[in-house]
Symmetry: C2
Subunit: 447 residues, 2 copies
């Protein structure tokens, strides 16, 4: 039995214990998130580390340390312990928070793959590195507000004990593009959300027989304005200047994407889409990972009941978002939107909602190479450097506040049903993940 196999029972007990605490950050019933943080801190201590709860003003975080000597390189590993809600409908186990282990080593339960399983794989990898005397100073940062957008993550980082800046940060909260090909995303999209509002009456809806043709229709004007912002069929953004700061993909990036195992058919099926804007894989991946979007999520203010009420609405509000890519700046993009709207329909108010910077990490250099080598060594396959289309607030915050290179070493697979029913993880990914983290820490120690 290998050193890793000897840890299997400990790992499964630890994961079962964390899954059993329904740390749903969006509701946090009965202080479950704090209980989860405390249980996680106890686990870190049980395996020889130091740990404490960090108060943030919101839900607490956990700060763990596994040190092998002073003056060693400092590595931060980020995970989160809060989970999505899990109504029992659709699950094939009686209770999504009572983890079930299948004979093939599959772990079924909410939080197994997102992100409690990977968090514990990182902990065990660090413990293994410590036991081997690897000269590295590991700090674990476990957040409990990731699923609600990390609103207190800045305060969490600010509340950590003072110390030297880390040499590298590893984040283990991403999904491989395909099952047999490890993926290391080095880029994330940012996001900008805003409202477009128009009020053409201070009263209620008016009778379209009495007013139609002369009364302005704010719903139609907002729909038209959004249609001028982006071509709804192709997705091309029509606001001048929006593409100015988009960093073009280079050949190496395109090669990385092509090696990821991404498939249009798998994507279409996974998301139950009838058709895609593009079936060409290179174009398709660029669209979701490396191009900005302008998305209309809904327009309120019209008639939403059954049938058709033939009234002219008095006001309308579009809910819009733009995914942004390196090197776009949310502030500049918002100004471009405002200028465009002012030109096209000056009566429309553009109301800022939220923003997050896009992220671009290293895909070359010693830390990216150490991570890639660790992944290859653990899984037997060279990882593909890809990007992700989503946004991870904590990554952007760490880049700003920790000032260290960030590598994304995810362990979740497409079939793990991230955020879905029958969320699962496996001993295979967990054990290889431990090997990956142990190997990464060893390589960083040797730099």
């Amino acid at each position: 039995m290998t050193q890793i196999e000897l840890l299997r029972e400990d790992y499964e007990d630890a994961l079962r214990g964390l899954v059993a605490i329904p740390s749903v950050s969006s509701s946090d019933e009965g202080g479950d998130c704090r209980r989860c943080a405390e249980a996680a801190a106890a686990l870190i201590r049980r395996f020889g580390g130091e740990a404490r709860i960090i108060e943030t003003g919101g839900l607490p975080g956990v700060h763990g340390r596994i040190r092998s000597g002073s003056g060693a390189p400092k590595v931060v590993i980020y995970n989160h312990l809060d989970v999505q809600p899990a109504p029992v409908e659709g699950w094939s186990i009686p209770d999504p928070f009572l983890m079930e282990i299948r004979d093939d080593g599959t772990y079924l339960g909410r939080g197994t793959t997102d992100d409690k399983g990977p968090a514990l794989a990182a902990l065990f990898g660090a413990v293994l590195a410590g036991r081997a005397g690897t000269p590295v100073d590991v700090e674990l940062i476990w957040e409990l507000e990731e699923e609600i957008g990390s609103p207190s993550f800045g305060p969490l980082l600010d509340a950590l004990p003072a110390g030297p800046r880390p040499d590298v940060v590893a984040v283990s909260d991403t999904i491989w593009v395909s099952t047999n090909k490890p993926a290391m995303p080095y880029g994330l999209r940012g996001v900008l959300t805003f409202y477009l509002r128009l009020e053409t009456s201070s009263g209620g809806p008016t009778h379209s027989g009495l007013t139609g043709g002369l009364a302005r229709n704010p719903f139609a004007e907002i729909a038209s304005l959004v249609s001028q912002c982006a071509d709804a069929r192709t997705g091309a953004i029509l606001i001048p200047g929006v593409y100015d700061d988009v960093r073009p993909l280079d050949d190496e990036e395109r090669e990385g994407f092509a090696a990821s195992g991404w498939s249009a058919e798998a994507f279409r099926t996974a998301h139950r889409l009838n058709s895609l804007r593009s079936d060409d894989p290179a174009d398709a991946m660029e669209r979701i990972w490396a191009r900005p979007t302008f998305e209309l999520h809904g327009i309120t203010g019209g008639y939403e009941g059954p049938g058709i009420m033939t009234a002219v609405p008095p006001r309308a509000e579009a809910k819009c978002s733009m995914r942004l890519v390196p090197d776009q700046k949310p502030e500049r993009i918002f100004e471009l939107v405002r200028t465009f709207v002012a030109q096209r329909n000056p009566d429309v108010e553009v109301v800022f909602d939220a923003k997050l910077e896009p992220f671009l990490g290293p895909r070359t250099g010693r830390y990216a190479e150490a991570a890639a080598a660790a992944v290859e060594s653990a899984f037997g396959v060279r990882p593909a450097f890809t990007r992700e289309g989503g946004s991870i607030g904590a990554v952007v915050t760490m880049q700003e506040k920790l000032g260290a290179p960030i590598v994304l070493m995810g362990l979740s697979l497409p079939e793990h049903n991230y955020h879905g029913v029958d969320e699962n993880f496996s001993w295979r990914q967990a054990s290889r993940g431990m090997v990956m983290f142990r190997g990464f820490l060893g390589r960083v120690a040797g730099l």
Copy 2:
């Protein structure tokens, strides 16, 4: 005391009695509409007419006859006795169904102006004509489903006793454009309602970080399609062929509009609109009375909750209507919409909902002239021949089934708060209305 003044107490008692029966056709609690029909039939009998309840399959109607001799011209007068709901909020009387008479002869209560007051004015006018021995055969058709779109009005007409076709039909259910200028609308807009539907996924909303840029956005595509159907700012319909059958206004019609007393400022204020598509009165009146519209009432399928959920919707449905004008045919317009949509976005389904033909009645000829002379004689002012922008289903049905010229002799004023709180009517309009109907019947008898 004049002959008319002698009727005042009878009129007020009758109106109070009908208002006291809350004949709200949209709810019809406890059979109120049938009670109202029976009370109205009893009134007709009390004043010397014949009356019976007509069963329609829906809510009943009333058929009354006030005859002065065989072989006389036959005049149908249409009114309705059902009313809009009247929650007490905002009213200055304790109960909208307990009519209050102000010292100045104002009648406050639901249904006073729409349309119980005018119905009784017509009845009393016919009674006066009968007492004077005017050789005319008056049939009163009182509907109880007008406020819900007259769904059983065809069956009501079919259930009337067989007899010669009427010589003329008078409808008293319209509003003057301004207080001191009687208006006789000779045109009504029709309407066509339909849905534009697009489904791009068989699943639920997808995460815009994961799919945005590659997944089609059906909400945005529907918004764009609607924007291609009509210019949201100007209201101009962009679907080829839609204007082909629009009958242009002639100079006499424009003169009639100009004489109506319509004011952009009064219109804007009454509907609490911040601005209008046009401030030129001639253009403005043409827009609401004589031009077709393409109105977007709402799009469902997007995110309608608080904040912005950055999901790509799987489907969207626009609720659309078009007001149509003479000589547009709803069937042809619907085909034009279908053809246009098929060219612009073939994945979008165009789903028919409902239609009503536009109406164009006489504004010259002996019956229009008899009506105008009666109005002028009663009110001391020559009426303006105008159109209305709304649609009255019963008028279209009568035109089809009765085959007689229809004149619209309304008595409601803009300040009567049609459909609103503090709905009111007045002895002034009622008494002059009686004179108007008496005079109209006399003129028809003399033709």
